[in-house]
């Protein structure tokens, strides 16, 4: 592990046996896991390059248990790391050696389906896909669809403000969540929002969403569901130049067309995906766009014609239009399998996640190519072209000394490039530990201080998921007084990672 985490509290570690016993009194039976072997599955999330066994794993089943566990930890100064399904790609659920890992996996019940109000009330451990499956019989679905939707939990989606290919048209998690039951670090249980379209007062749901488990633990969620469009069809369009594909994306949006999804892959990704799933992707192109249009059949037919004409105007070399659901699924199959497909052509890879303005796409790709040469590492690009969210996959071999460090440096350079082009460090994977040290590249000390003051409003002792998102530890009382001006660093004696 090359990244520093907060120093462990030896006094807490010394009391481990007593803490485990106390937690067992709150969560009986198999709800507390304390043996090293049984805790192994929890020592990382999907950012597996970083691993750390937790002090103890607690798997509560009720809100009351969550509340009591948090209150106990609050009263005893014990850190807590919340975890959903563990599919985070940024280390958001990486344990700490002296912290309780609080798994919400047993919160698996959909509590209510309310078609009249077009909402589902669910527990946080329910998977994203299970929500859509539960309402599919009535023609409804839950719109945000992260690629991990078969495994990722809705609670984790809230923590990370997850997205997916439908986000361009239907928004991210934050645009589709109406309320939650939230347990604060103090153990206090609050209800934020609900079935009404807006909540009273400040938009607390908006700030909880995407807060990466640093503000509270969600034990119930109310999400919006939508009626499925009448139909969806997809185009698969190839280009001999990446720039032409980028231009096509810009022209589609400029023409006032908002596709249900608009994804791009570059040559290495196309070849890897085609070898993996035989989707019929053209292998003689530099970039492939998959553009899905949804709505009424008449609308989709018309928009397909318009998009096809735009693509031709941009110099597309191939264009196939799905004629059936099976064919549409096939177009997507390669894109959805792109990550595992690339895993077959390289021993290891890092999946990056930055966003840029759509118009900056050619410049970003050119820079990534330069960096690839500089570091001597291959890269395959898969991205949500419609909203500028890049996923460069940096290929390396962890068994070759120094390659992982090179890959990480390459990734950091890509993210810095995203910010310099007017974009951001992360579009959907979160900051976690992965991009923590890059936060000052996007935010000033004053920006970060304001975010940390907000954290203090929820968790004044800083016990919930410390070491994530922010590169510098601050004590709340000091943040309340400090004014940061002229870039001077306050309290240089405070611990920094």
């Amino acid at each position: 592990m090359t990244i520093m985490m907060p120093a462990s509290d030896q006094a807490v570690l010394d009391r481990r046996d007593a803490i485990v016993a106390d937690l067992r009194a709150i969560v009986p039976g198999e709800g507390v896991i304390a043996s090293a072997a049984e805790m192994l599955p929890y020592e990382s999330d999907a950012l597996t390059a970083y691993r750390q066994p937790p002090m103890v794993v607690v798997l509560p089943e009720t809100t009351e248990q969550v509340s009591r566990v948090l209150k106990y930890c609050f009263d005893n100064g014990i850190k807590v790391v919340p975890r959903g399904s563990g599919t985070s790609l940024s280390g958001g659920a990486l344990p700490l050696a002296d912290a309780v890992l609080l798994g919400l996996g047993k919160f698996k019940r959909i509590r209510e389906i309310d078609f009249d109000n077009r909402v589902v009330v669910t527990e946080p451990g329910v998977t994203n896909l299970a929500i859509s499956q539960a309402v599919a019989h009535a023609g409804f679905y839950y719109a945000p669809d992260p690629s991990s939707q078969i495994a990722c939990s809705i609670g984790g989606n809230i923590a990370e403000n997850s997205g997916g290919v439908h986000c361009l048209k239907y928004g991210m998690t934050t645009n589709n969540v109406l309320g939650c039951e939230l347990v604060l670090m103090s153990g206090e249980v609050l209800r934020i929002g609900g079935k009404a379209p807006e909540q009273a007062g400040y938009d607390l749901m908006g700030i909880i969403t995407g807060s990466e488990g640093l503000l509270g633990v969600v034990t119930e969620v109310t999400v919006r569901i939508l009626r499925k469009p009448e139909t969806a069809r997809a185009l698969m369009v190839g280009f001999s130049q990446v720039e032409a594909a980028g231009e096509c994306v810009a022209r589609v949006i400029g023409a006032g067309i908002i596709p249900g999804g608009m994804e791009m892959m570059d040559r290495p990704a196309i070849h890897a995906a085609e070898a993996f799933v035989n989707a019929g992707y053209p292998l003689d192109v530099e970039a492939l766009l998959i553009i899905e249009l949804d709505g009424s059949s008449i609308e989709v037919d018309e928009l397909i014609k318009r998009v096809e004409a735009i693509a031709l105007g941009c110099g597309s070399t191939t264009c196939r239009i799905s004629g059936s659901e099976a064919e549409r699924d096939l177009f997507w199959a390669g894109r959805k399998a792109a990550f595992p497909a690339v895993g077959r052509i390289s021993p290891d890879y890092i999946c990056m996640d930055g966003t840029i303005p759509r118009g900056a796409l050619p410049r970003a790709l050119a820079r990534i190519r330069e960096l690839s040469e500089k570091y001597g590492l291959g890269v395959a690009n898969v991205f949500h072209a419609g909203d500028g969210n890049l996923h460069p996959l940096i290929l390396y071999d962890a068994n070759k000394p120094g390659e992982m460090d090179k890959a990480e440096a390459f990734g950091a350079d890509i993210l810095r490039c995203c910010v310099e082009l007017g974009g951001v460090l992360t579009g959907e994977h979160g900051v976690g530990i992965e991009k923590r040290e890059l936060m000052p590249h996007m935010f000033s000390e004053a920006d970060l201080s304001q975010q940390q003051r907000l954290k203090c409003a929820f968790d004044a002792q800083g016990l919930l998921n410390p070491g994530k998102v922010f590169p510098t530890l601050h004590r709340c009382a000091e943040l309340g007084r400090v004014h940061v001006h002229g870039g001077r660093l306050p309290f240089p004696d405070l611990p920094r990672f």
Binding site: L184, G193, A196, Y202, P229, I253, D387, G388, V431, A457
Partner: protein, 416 residues
């Protein structure tokens, strides 16, 4: 009272820092068009940001616009219109409802108030379209939130808090908003003569259909008669009207209009209103034209009630019956505008009872239009549960510990 006119963001920082140093709270205004909303402020000076009115960057192909917070809303809307784009959430123009001069209101005020129009049911609210902001906290520190791209999960989404915060967290100086292409065509299906509860069911059925309804509103005959513009035309038949809007490319709108009419046939035969005539109807719905300050119901206090959409009809119908007031419905029943006739004492009683009855539904009510005397008596903004209110207050203090910004606007309870 002193007025500090900021020329740029640095002026705003200086003004807030001076106010912090002297513990002199500031009222933040753009055009001041929404000053009559909320409680009377206990501020010593006015910080006017209307001179921060430039459009910094408009990139139609990126679907974003960056503007200073004091930019006039109508000018920005005109600029977007010139490129056939718009704010998809249909920002409400409060001029008619509050009786202020038309065309007033700034982008900052639009965000601070967070009042979205009919398309909120499809496109989301103001909070869903604010991508980034530069603002000055109550510490006097300029800070940045969010960015200028749609997909962004870098750090806390502070923009969500700024939207609808009524200027109590920070003074916005520049914001980036998502814009969307305007629909090529629109068509409104009008159902006639439904009572509020039945209309609510019709709207629920419409929103549960695959026809992509982008507006669902209902109003009684008397409400239609109280409006002067496009809605008044609908009053000619002497019946209530339920409006369902479809937008998109022309062929699709025609197709879906027919399909939706067939889907809702159990509620009666609908008539179709198209193009500019349809657009005018929805402007009136958005701006609550039946309750215009210079109209027949202009003297009545007006509540803005948000509740689970399928509950709206029954709640509103009971409220109107018991009070003799008038209720109109937007957001398929999720947004009720209620004009209730009465004295201060009676409204005080209404406030308690309507909020009590909203509680089990998970709804909330804001007294959006009322005289000063009434606003001193009644909680304008919906009181929150104790724990949530305490958290919200801690959140507020994390931005503005000295309560320098718009002190007193949100609550009648003095901040200690």
């Amino acid at each position: 009272m002193d007025t500090l006119k900021a020329g740029d963001a640095a002026d705003v920082e200086d003004a807030v820092r001076a106010a912090v140093a002297g513990d002199q709270p500031l009222e933040i205004i753009g055009h001041g068009s929404k000053r009559s909303i909320g409680h009377a402020m206990t501020t010593d000076a006015v910080l006017d940001v209307s001179a921060l009115n430039a459009v910094t960057c408009y990139e139609p192909h990126e679907l974003i616009i960056t503007v200073q917070a004091g930019a006039p809303l109508d000018e920005v809307v005109s600029l977007l219109d010139s490129r056939n784009q718009e704010f998809a959430f249909e920002p409400m123009d409060t001029a008619a409802l509050l009786g202020v001069r038309s065309g007033r209101g700034t982008i900052g005020g639009m965000i601070g108030a967070g009042l979205a129009g009919p398309r909120r049911i499809k496109a989301g609210g103001v909070r869903d379209h604010l991508l980034g902001a530069h603002a000055v906290s109550g510490f006097g520190d300029g800070f940045k939130a969010g960015g200028r791209v749609v997909k962004n999960v870098t750090g806390y989404d502070l923009c969500k808090l700024l939207a609808g915060s009524w200027g109590t967290l920070a003074v916005m100086t520049e914001v980036t908003l998502k814009v969307m292409p305007k629909a090529e065509a629109e068509r409104t299906l009008v159902l006639r003569g439904l009572d509020d509860v039945t209309a609510n069911r019709a709207m629920t059925a419409a929103l549960g259909s695959p026809y992509d309804v982008s507006g669902a509103a209902h109003m009684s005959r008397t409400a239609l008669e109280a409006a002067r513009g496009a809605l008044a035309v609908l009053a000619s038949t002497g019946q209530a009207a339920t409006l369902l809007r479809l937008e998109g490319i022309a062929a699709s709108v025609a197709h879906r209009g027919a399909a939706l009419a067939a889907h809702l046939a159990p509620f009666g035969a609908g008539e179709l209103v198209e193009g500019a005539e349809s657009a005018a109807l929805w402007c009136d719905v958005r701006d609550v034209a039946p309750f215009a300050a210079d109209g027949p119901l202009g003297g009545w206090p007006v509540w803005r009630i948000v509740c689970p959409p399928a509950s709206g009809g029954a709640f509103g119908q009971a409220l109107a019956r018991e009070t003799g007031g008038e209720v109109i419905y937007d957001w398929a029943g999720g947004l009720l505008w209620a004009a209730l006739p009465s004295s201060v004492d009676v409204v005080d009683a209404y406030a308690a009872s309507l909020r009590r009855r909203l509680a089990p539904l998970g709804g909330h009510a804001t007294l959006l239009r009322a005289g000063e005397e009434l606003r001193r008596t009644v909680d304008v903004f919906h009181p929150q549960a104790k724990g949530v209110a305490a958290l919200a207050e801690r959140v507020r203090r994390s931005f503005d510990p000295g309560s320098i910004l718009n002190r007193g606007r949100l609550t009648r309870t003095p901040i200690s």
